[in-house]
Amino acid sequence: MKRRKLEELFFRSLMVIATVVVGGSFFLIVGTVFIKGAPYMTWDMLTKTPGGGFYIGKEGGILNAIIGSLYVAGGATVLGLIISIPVAIFINMYMDGKKFLSNTLRAAFDVLFGIPSIVYGAFGFLIMVYFGIRASLLGGIIAVTLLVIPILVRTLDEVIRTVPLELRDAALSLGATRWEMAKVVLRQIRPGILTAILLSFGRAIGDVASVLFTAGFSDNIPTSLHEPAATLPLAIFFQLSSPVEEVQGRGYASALILTIIVLGITILAEILIKKFSKHNI
């Protein structure tokens, strides 16, 4: 009897410790970024592009990187969705009786999911060289799109598979075509699509390696797809590698901005998911 109680106590303590470690590290990370970055958070950081002496501690902000990151992550997510939704529908609803093929495709996307983002960056770079595109917003969007497609396809695939087959049968028995049935399924998984967008955007906005060669860097806000674009992770990297204390501090402020953007998107997604799931079973 005593042994069983000890066992209970032991494993319960393990769970509590693990939970504290995970929860604690979240606060530790956000806290560090906040404490180190907050003193350097100025209105200028958010509203101005780097001035002449920005990198030695003079005036300016990182608006170029904020806008650049939103462009790259937004563009890649939109482009990724346009490609991923048809793929996910096709795998799930048009490949009946071809289980081997659809499962092979799923495995392929799993492999793509695991490929490090620097490989996508390199591949995107090759595509750009082939088409003669220089480091630009477009190049960045292409590389990041490649990065997020596997995330989108796998997430959408998972959520589509949670839709009961009977719902599809229900649409079909009303005389719906396959595409009409697919539309019902898409409606059913709207919260899931939002989750996929969120995951994709979060990954896209924080990734450095894929934009390293492809998007380039610029102190200006890009005004066309062919201009180089700064991104937040790269801006953080450059600022943190500076020997000037002022600039390092701004690096943490930039990290804080990135964290707040991701946090904001997460909260927004939560709200939207609640709103959209009201029709669901």
Binding site: L172, S173, L174, G175, T177, V184, N280
Partner: protein
Amino acid sequence: MTQTPHISVQHLNVHIGNQHILNDININIPDKKVTSIIGPSGCGKTTLLKSFNRLLDNTDGVKITGKVLVDGEDIYAPDAEVTHIRKKMGLLSQRPYPLPMSIYDNVAYGPRIHGIRKKQVLDELVEEQLKATGLWNEVKDRLNAPATRLSIGQQQRLCLARGLAVGPEIILGDESTSALDPVSTSIIEDLFISLKEKYSIVLVTHILRQARRVSDYIVFVYMGRIIEFGPTEEVLLSPKEELTKEYVKGFIS
């Protein structure tokens, strides 16, 4: 059974993978009657039901041979149009699966995909079918509420209304009351009885009491074969076959 059958199944065989699910099925489902398919779990009764509106098509590794004639037209003929066939039949599944939309849109969904756009026509259709399933008074003030807000029994009646809205001739019920409470069950059973004036109804059930109460004819299926088919009283009270006797007495299940 002198009238012409509504569904006529001839030498139907269904294999899924290397399993022989239905073995040489021959049956004539009478017009404007309630026919219940009974049998133990896994005997193939749901497969038989789903073969009537070609919902088996999407099953992995399925092979179907033989004929199923609906109104004399072979639905498995190479040139048969599957959406047209399915429109003729309303399906009521084990649990209600309302479409992810409002109550109104659930009923209007079918007519809309078949090309009815006029608001006034849709309004009338929705009202008519919700009345036919006894839901109208319960939902008329909240037609735009999500269908999932309804109780499960109401959802099942909504699914029936949704099926009726496309103007089918046949209603297929796949253990349609198995997820419902007794009150909702008896409402659905009463609906089946009243709807047979206009529709031919085929039900799969494992509740003999329900089969007896609702149906005019009974098909007993065992291990993928039809063992007995006849009027309800005959099959349930004085079965000809030994297997049917055992099933009805509850020896096999």
